[in-house]
């Protein structure tokens, strides 16, 4: 991107590279203590304890999955009882068709609970991450392609109330970031 083109675009974020997971962890603690809100660390794998270092709470996804699973359980219950007890009461082996037939329904209740929970978990993780998306300003930064290989980055976005192009860059440099650079919005 030429300098002239860059001037027209608003900045998206400041990015800095760190040497390893330990350095990134220490840097995250400092950025957290500095009071930033819209920032993230990028790594090739989830770093143990990073949520604490970033001051993030536990993901609420678990509660959403519980709701999905409950819908699955309810679906199975209705799917089994309505046809078996009302629409098409099929008497097999002289067994009851009312509520007392419920033990025979346990297997499918379990299966549909798991199935709906799994779908909620899978789609939930991408919806909460605002994925899929076809592009992101970070991908314009050449070195960022190593984030899925062996590189560790810390990114502070320009939407953060404490963001300032010069001071944020200085902060990242003082806490050990290398190649501190400014990234611009796509369009």
């Amino acid at each position: 991107m030429s300098a002239a083109a860059a001037l027209k675009k608003p900045p998206f974020a400041v990015i800095a590279e760190f040497s390893d997971a330990a350095a990134l962890y220490a840097a995250a603690e400092k950025v957290r203590d500095a009071g930033f809100k819209f920032w993230d660390v990028h790594s090739p794998f989830p770093i143990h304890g990073m949520n604490k270092a970033m001051g993030l709470k536990k993901s609420p996804l678990g509660y959403i999955i519980f709701c999905g699973g409950s819908v699955g359980f309810l679906t199975a219950t209705l799917l089994e009882f309505i046809p078996s007890s009302y629409l098409f009461p099929l008497i097999v082996h002289g067994k009851p068709v009312d509520f007392f037939t419920v033990p025979a329904f346990f297997v499918m209740m379990f299966e549909l609970t798991v199935l709906f929970s799994a779908f909620t978990a899978f789609f939930g993780v991408f919806i909460m991450n605002r994925l899929p998306r076809l592009h992101h300003p970070l991908f314009d930064y050449e070195a960022f392609s190593r984030v899925t290989n062996d590189a560790f980055f810390l990114v502070i976005e320009s939407t953060d109330p404490k963001f300032s192009e010069i001071e944020t860059k200085e902060l990242l440099a003082t806490i050990g970031g290398k190649d501190v650079s400014l990234i611009y919005e796509n369009d």
Binding site: P46, H48, A118
Partner: protein, 476 residues
């Protein structure tokens, strides 16, 4: 004296934990080695293998169509042996499909970090095995065009399936298992597809991997939800993996046939499935680790611990066989007693004794550490287990059926060429899919292997400079 000296040394130093990846490889090495398998040209053995397996798959498909156009009479099934190789193959493949989800779910919950080297390939193996399994009940129904009756959908006949039938439970159990396994497998793939995308040279391959990776960026705000989803999926898959083969066993256990009607079936089937699944993982991964030079990722320590699991589950299976036999004697039911004497001493005695030798006696070799670290012996034992588990299902289904309550109805079962080639065809489909998988997707979970390296720990401090003594050299 040596003893007192040893007691003063901390336990951690006396028995240091072996690193999970040997020879101190870097993260970049892991990416290069594993993504390289996909990026480099396919080796010649790959083309030869897939030519062979695809031919078998094609002929197996021909056999299936021959069956559909002609009728179930082309099989050797008869009355009383109405369920024979088809259901044997179904349960065989479903059993194989248990190792993957066990490795990814149960071992994840148990914090068994060594699973990261093998979980991707085993999960893929699970999916392909379940695909092979799903073929058999589908074609066994005879009139395949009526198989939509399995689905609980409103129809003009106002007929609904019997939800209290074990066969109906089976439909739900297997299809749920397959779907959840696909989701679990794909969720694990997403970060690695990001790696493939970032390494891709060509525009097309980059675009394809981009779409497949959903634009994954590896931010901790993403990993936070990802890890939660992974944990919950592991928690859900743990009872699921145990329930699938239990439900499959209900197909038999809820009947009144001697040899099938036993309460031991669910745990016995699950143990056998894990045994057979681990054996198949070993069968596939032992050659692949040498062919793709993955010895430092899938190490002898991995093989060792998997052999121990094979030994453990094989022994549970041995206990189940013995207990079935004992209960047949102790239960006092003459039909039950006859069924079990007929099983081991009747006309199919050779099948039962093959089963017992392969599944119970051969795994006992794994007590010896030197055997667990010997390529040939591990491969031999895993092949024995593969064969033995197929025979186990043959023994349970065919032998229990062929001599039923009325001696006038007794009849032997002989497979036809269609039976044999449909089975070999399913092996071909399985191996073809697996070969395609290792060609186009990273066969080891790169992001997960990187996460178990020592330097992935945020509190890791590199050891002080000096001559580095590698634990791995002892075994290499």
């Amino acid at each position: 004296m040596a003893e007192s000296e040893a007691s003063t040394v901390p336990f951690v130093e006396r028995m240091p934990r072996h690193p999970l990846v040997w020879n101190n490889h870097s993260m970049a090495w892991i990416s290069d080695r594993i993504a390289g398998i996909v990026e480099n040209r396919a080796p010649r053995w790959w083309w030869i293998s897939i030519a062979v397996t695809a031919s078998f798959a094609a002929f197996g498909t021909f056999c299936i169509f021959y069956l559909l156009f002609t009728g179930v009479g082309v099989w050797g099934n008869n009355i009383p042996v109405a369920w024979a190789w088809d259901i044997t193959n179904f349960v065989f493949w479903i059993g194989i499909g248990h190792a993957g989800t066990l490795i990814s779910a149960i071992l994840h919950l148990c914090r068994q970090k060594w699973r990261t080297s093998i979980n991707r390939a085993s999960e893929a193996m699970t999916l392909f095995a379940v695909i092979c399994a799903a073929i058999f009940p589908g074609i066994h129904v005879g009139r395949v065009w009526m198989s939509w009756f399995l689905a609980p959908i409103p129809n003009p006949n106002w007929i609904w399936p019997n939800f209290r039938s074990a066969l109906m439970w089976d439909v739900f159990a297997v299809s749920t298992y397959f779907t959840v396994s696909v989701l679990f497998w794909y969720l694990g793939l997403v970060p690695d597809l990001g790696t493939m995308r970032d390494r891709a040279k060509g525009r097309v391959s980059r675009a394809v991997y981009w779409v497949l990776s959903f634009g994954w960026r590896g931010g901790n705000r993403q990993w936070r939800h990802y890890e939660m989803a992974y944990l919950v999926l592991a928690g859900l898959s743990t009872p699921l993996v145990l329930s699938v083969h239990s439900t499959v066993s209900f197909d038999f256990a809820t009947s009144v046939l001697p040899g099938w009607h036993t309460t031991i079936f669910p745990p016995y089937f699950v143990a056998g499935a894990i045994f057979g699944g681990f054996a198949m993982v070993l069968t596939l991964m032992l050659p692949l680790r040498s062919l793709f030079k993955l010895e430092d990722v899938f190490t002898w320590d991995h093989i060792d611990v998997m052999c121990k699991l094979v030994l453990f589950t094989g022994s549970i299976v041995g206990y189940a066989y013995s207990m079935e036999f004992f209960v047949a004697f102790y239960g006092g039911n003459p039909f039950e007693r006859f069924a079990f004497i007929n099983r081991y001493f009747g006309p199919y005695w050779w099948a039962s004794w093959t089963m017992f030798t392969c599944n119970v006696i051969m795994p006992q070799l794994m007590w010896v550490r030197a055997f667990r670290r010997n390529w040939a012996i591990v491969f031999f034992v895993s092949m024995c287990a593969n064969a033995g588990m197929w025979f186990e299902r043959f023994v349970i289904f065919v032998i229990s059926l062929h001599r039923d309550f009325l001696p006038s109805a007794w009849r032997m079962y002989y497979p036809t060429w269609v039976d044999v080639f449909t089975y070999i065809g399913s092996l071909g489909i399985f191996l073809t899919l697996f070969l395609l998988f290792i060609r186009f997707l990273p066969m080891v979970a790169m992001s997960e292997v990187k996460a178990v390296l020592p330097e992935a720990d945020p509190h890791y401090h590199p050891p002080p400079a000096g001559p580095k003594e590698s634990v791995t050299e002892v075994h290499a």
